[in-house]
Amino acid sequence: MQKLLELQQLKKHYPILGGIFRHQVASVKAVDGIDLDIFRGECLGLVGESGCGKTTTGKAIVRLHAPTAGQILYRPERGESGDAIDLAALRKNELKKKGVRGRLQMVFQDPTTSLNPRMLVKHIIAEPIREQKRLTSRELEDEVLNLLSLVGLTKDHMLRYPHEFSGGQRQRIAVARAIATHPEFLVLDEPTSALDVSVQAQILNLLKQLQDKLGLTYLFVTHHLLVVKYISQRLAVMYLGKIVEIAKTSDLFATPFHPYSYALLSGIPVPDIDHKPRRIVLTGDVPSPVTPPAACRFHTRCPFAIDVCRRVEPVLEAVRPGHRAACHRKFEVEKLVREKFGTR
């Protein structure tokens, strides 16, 4: 498979200002050096608890903010002889000049806040097109209609305001806006967490259809593991600004190698009455990303932490083809879990 995006040691630190002169006293290490490859045509799930840097990663890729360090290599479909563009190094005006903005788009979590309440749906969807191309108003309207029908809305919806729609329809409008510029890559930032169960299924199915129809690549950021299992082919687990495990979704659900993934997967409340999980309950809370624990960041909550975990930081290593985990005891974890918590 061809790589679409390649993140190399990506970092995003938010400064904390303080003191008399408002100088930087510390920084929130939201994303602290991640390596991630996103292949063309796949849907990569990114899961983790709140505050672990999932959304920051997504925003860094579409360059909604500038990363502190690291590279984001983007290989466009019909680029200049297939050479990679480093998005992290580009300035904002260069991004537009190279035509990258239109190719990487984002759908936000809450459609109520991400759609301008004072704009008609027609103008909301037309805005990104107008930014990229010069079209006559009739062409623009045809384009908008086309997009609306793609996401399952009709012409009647064009001249309404966002508040006239239900949550599911609003999210459809947000998706239509994101695909308006014919992107090849979409960051979906918890697109269903603000929606109800019955509507969530509609949106998930819509996203799947669009992926097939338009050949899109997704980065699906979520904390809902069952949703990510349904939609994504590969899954990356984040903890405190680091990726701790990445594998095919089915592999990760079957045999996780990192204790955090174990805990995360066993923590899902499964809507199935016969499923009696052996739950690994982690003690304590996620440490502050301002002063993350040294060495392995998970050692403060890990039930199997040993001395080496407190001294040496584990690297993300391959445990089998296509499956990488960052843990010192990755090959023992399954045995340890079985000993301490019984079989899953």
Partner: protein, 437 residues
């Protein structure tokens, strides 16, 4: 901060009795424990003991757009010792239902009709107490003591300018003042008491009075005088000690430190534990958890669910769990009620509901949730939840229902029994043979 808000804001409760034209049966200063002096005559002839029963509960909200019929004749029974899960999508009336039980529906809302019967162990007879006809004073004594509530957002439920300890201790000070006074008196009478003579006599006088009549005018006057106000301090110390105790029970490390901290010092999971501690302070008969875990992360949610399960075995009799997550229901509940647009669709034991869902909405809902072993495409429910200002006539699910008939558009179906402890409100099960599930 449940107690604080309720006590200082009596306007928060609509006077539902007056609204529906009925009169209040005002029982001022009547203790809920001693209202009926015949314990033992429980509603035992019913087999399983009912704890809470609502009959045709109707709650409306009078908004500018029109009357929102948030609860449409909801009848429900919660037994003693069960965990009852109430599921439904947002806006279906789950929260309004529990607010109506507690009579804390906010201003444009009014409880219009129906009954909320509670059967406490010491309330004799099969009739129970109708909460909608009780005085506000009675309700204040019930809330947080016999029936308590855990709210969804711990940030909003806790008072940011009070220490954790004070907030938990408030429950004890309000509901268990007599017992606290008695402990202080016992401490004063103990031989190793260090307090000097005249002070001791004074304190004994105060606490003797408070133990008899907590609302005495003399005590209220003393509370206005700066120095005399201090008589409450020993009592507060005792309440705080109890608070430390209960916080420790909920698995919070070093509770002595936590009681002197403020909500912003704690993380989300810890805050939710504190809210649970406040709710559990007076060992309630019924704990209502309104989306208690939905704002938390997966690992923290697992902690809280485990905690609730553990408490179910040791501390509390019954839990009414409001949630939109069917996974949480499958794991924690014994019985489930499914709500849709202000109606109760189906009530069943949890195994029965997940294996043989009867109502079309329940079936669709179960199919719309992604499973661990998901194969093929998710089935979604077409359309969206109706606007309750102008709900569809008849059964409110009929515009989205694949089995809708002519009858469904005209009249709302009654609850019918389709199995042991399994009731459904759907015309598919009244006269006609039921279709294959």
């Amino acid at each position: 901060m449940v107690e604080f808000k309720l006590r200082n804001d009596p306007k928060a409760t609509p006077r539902s009795g007056k609204a529906s034209g009925a009169t209040f049966e005002v029982i001022l200063n009547a203790e809920p424990e001693t209202r009926n002096p015949e314990p033992g005559t429980r509603n035992s002839e019913l087999g399983t003991m009912r704890l809470l029963e609502t009959q045709n509960l109707v709650t409306n909200f009078y908004t500018y757009e029109g009357v929102v019929n948030a609860l449409n004749r909801v009848s429900l029974v919660v037994d003693h010792g069960t965990t009852f899960g109430l599921v439904g999508e947002s806006g279906c009336g789950k929260s309004v239902f529990v607010l109506s039980i507690m009579r804390i529906v906010q201003s444009p809302g009014k409880i219009e009709d129906g009954k909320v019967l509670v059967f406490f162990n010491d309330d004799a007879g099969a009739t129970g107490v109708d909460l909608l006809r009780q005085s506000e004073a009675y309700m204040q004594r019930i809330r947080g003591d016999r029936i308590s509530m855990v709210f969804q957002e711990p940030n909003a439920a806790l008072n940011p300018i009070m220490t954790i300890g004070d907030q938990v201790a408030e429950s004890f000070l309000f509901h268990q003042q007599k017992e606290l006074c008695k402990t202080v008196l016992a401490e004063l009478d103990a031989p190793d008491c260090q307090i000097i003579r005249p002070l001791k006599t004074l304190q004994r006088a105060f606490y003797g009075m408070a133990a008899q009549h907590p609302d005495a005018t003399a005590l209220k006057l003393c509370d206005r005088v700066p120095v005399l106000r201090r008589w409450r301090r020993p009592m507060k110390r005792h309440a705080l000690r109890r608070a430390v105790n209960i916080i420790g029970k909920l698995g919070i490390p070093n509770p002595e430190e936590v009681v002197s901290q403020y909500p912003h010092n704690l993380s989300g999971g810890m805050k939710q534990r504190i809210v649970i501690a406040i709710a559990l302070a007076c060992s309630p008969v019924l704990l209502i958890a309104d989306e208690a875990t939905s704002n938390l992360d997966v690992t923290i949610q697992a902690q809280i669910l485990n905690l609730l399960k553990r408490l179910k075995q040791t501390e509390i009799a019954s839990i009414l769990l409001i949630t939109h997550d069917l996974g949480v229901v499958a794991e924690t509940c014994d019985r489930v009620g499914v709500m849709y647009a202000g109606n109760l669709c189906e009530v069943a034991d949890v195994g029965d509901l997940f294996h043989h869902p009867r109502h079309p909405y329940t079936r669709a809902l179960l199919e719309a949730v992604p499973r661990l072993a998901q194969e093929g495409e998710l089935k979604s429910i077409e359309g969206s939840v109706p606007n309750l200002v102008d709900p569809p006539p008849g059964c409110r699910f009929h515009p989205r229902c694949p089995h809708a008939m002519e009858l469904c558009r005209k009249r709302f179906p009654d609850q019918v029994e389709v199995g042991p402890n399994h009731t459904v409100s759907c015309y598919l099960y009244t006269d006609r043979p039921r279709p294959e599930a």
